[in-house]
């Protein structure tokens, strides 16, 4: 019985298989419409989420399965002080697979050790969010067509952005991948990512504060939000916030086939005017999230 807690739980071959299945689902949705008939997905969301929970639920319905669960901790027994282990032991009797989001880091791992059914980590605090990374990888596969020989720019909050850390980890397993890490000095990638991942694996990467300078070299630009609360003082925030807003003007020097990604929700870091640009793929990215989750549910339930 497999669970997915960290993107690195999957080999690159397994990721390739999931992407292949997701692509087949996109091409032949009817073929999969009854694959999970009689199966139930429990969505245990101990903190709010829009896209992730709905995409899991849509994924299960499109496979012909059913969904049960809760969307905030207040409507679960955790409000009464029940442990994660006890909650999932019970849910294990009612459902076939669990998708869990929890504010505490490691909660889905605890769930996977106790549930008796597969557990999918749907985000644990600022730690891991592997199905977002799978979504990003499917988007790159469909929109760029390869994982090797690419230059990927990550822009914005690289310090606290869990989606950035997971995607760096996943892409660093492919050949000839170059990273351009664009952020204010206050929000560079954490030391352990730099040392234990990038430097340890000999990955080609540069760190810069300038989005303009980085732009012409990028095949993919992964945008994240620079949040006010991450700064020590208001002046620094005001000074820096506009430097990392993507506008049509800033895109003028970008490659014609560059792909713009964003894990969403967007606030103001990508100007709405960019949405019309053909290179903007962040909404289609959210759509792909449903298909890769369908592929993942099939894999964990071992449905042929």
């Amino acid at each position: 019985m497999r669970s997915l807690i960290d993107i690195l739980d999957l080999t690159t071959e397994e990721i390739d298989q999931l992407i292949e299945t997701a692509n087949d689902i996109i091409e032949n949705p009817k073929k999969y419409a009854q694959k999970c008939e009689g199966k139930k997905l429990a969505t245990l969301f101990f903190e709010p989420s829009t896209r992730t929970r709905l995409s899991f639920e849509a994924a299960m319905y499109e496979l012909g399965g059913n969904v049960l669960g809760f969307s905030e901790a207040q409507s679960s027994s955790s409000a009464k002080g029940e442990s994660v282990a006890d909650t999932v032991k019970v849910v294990g009797y009612y459902a076939d697979v669990i998708a869990m989001r929890h504010p505490k880091e490691g909660a889905p791992l605890v769930a996977s050790m106790n549930a008796g059914i597969p557990v999918i980590n749907a985000g644990d605090g600022g730690h891991n969010h592997p199905t977002q990374t799978l979504t990003d990888l499917l988007t790159i596969n469909r929109e760029v067509g390869r994982f090797d020989n690419i230059t990927v720019g990550f822009c914005g909050d690289l310090k606290f952005g869990r989606t950035v850390h997971s995607l760096l980890g996943a892409l660093s397993r492919y050949k000839n991948v170059k990273f351009v890490l664009i952020s204010p000095k206050e929000l560079t990638v954490p030391e352990y990512i730099r040392k234990e991942l990038l430097e340890a694996k000999g990955i080609d990467f540069v760190e810069t504060t300038s989005l303009e300078e980085a732009m012409p070299s990028l095949d993919i630009l992964y945008m994240t939000r620079v949040q006010r609360e991450r700064f020590f003082n208001e002046q620094d925030y005001i000074r820096l916030k506009d430097s990392y807003i993507l506008t049509p003007e800033r895109l003028e020097t970008a490659k014609k086939d560059m792909c713009i990604l964003h894990p969403l929700p967007r606030v103001n870091e990508i100007s709405v005017a960019v949405d019309k640009d053909e290179r903007a793929k962040y909404f289609v990215q959210a759509n792909y999230g449903k298909y890769i989750r369908m592929a993942l549910i099939l894999k964990l339930l071992e449905v042929e």
């Binding site: 282990a85 490691g106 730690h127």
Partner: protein
């Protein structure tokens, strides 16, 4: 020059990094032993300059994982009838359980205290241990 007499039957923990003896003493639960335990700090050492030593005047089973986690360079000498009979190998353990607690306030173990505190060795060269739940470093 102060001297501490040698022991006939027991264990001598030698080559402890100066200043680490008390941490080891507590981690190994030596404070709960009924026998004589001598803690020598800042002893002269040709190899280390200064070192700590712990002498335990009883034949007890020590948790080598704890020693390996705190400092794998410590030498464990098992003394029988005044003779150093063996030196079990001390190595950094792959996993430590319930020896230390995760200090990350965002970790699930911070709210669910009955969970075992488990850390795995992720970088042998730099002796990095990470919590299996949140992946925070121990030190």
């Amino acid at each position: 020059m102060m001297t501490v007499s040698s022991i006939e039957n027991g264990i001598v923990l030698d080559h402890i990094k100066a200043g680490k003896a008390m941490e080891l003493y507590k981690a190994l639960g030596l404070d709960e032993l009924p026998c004589l335990v001598a803690i020598i700090t800042n002893a002269y050492s040709n190899k280390m300059g200064r070192k700590d030593i712990i002498k335990i005047d009883a034949e007890i089973e020590l948790n080598l994982d704890i020693i390996g986690y705190i400092d794998p360079n410590i030498t464990v000498n098992v003394i029988k009838n005044g003779v150093n009979t063996k030196q079990p190998k001390v190595e950094p353990p792959e996993k430590i359980e319930n020896i230390i607690k995760c200090k990350n306030p965002r970790c699930i173990t911070s709210v669910e205290q009955e969970l075992p505190n488990i850390f795995k060795l992720t970088d042998r060269k730099n002796m990095v241990y990470r919590c299996i739940y949140c992946e925070s470093k121990t030190k």
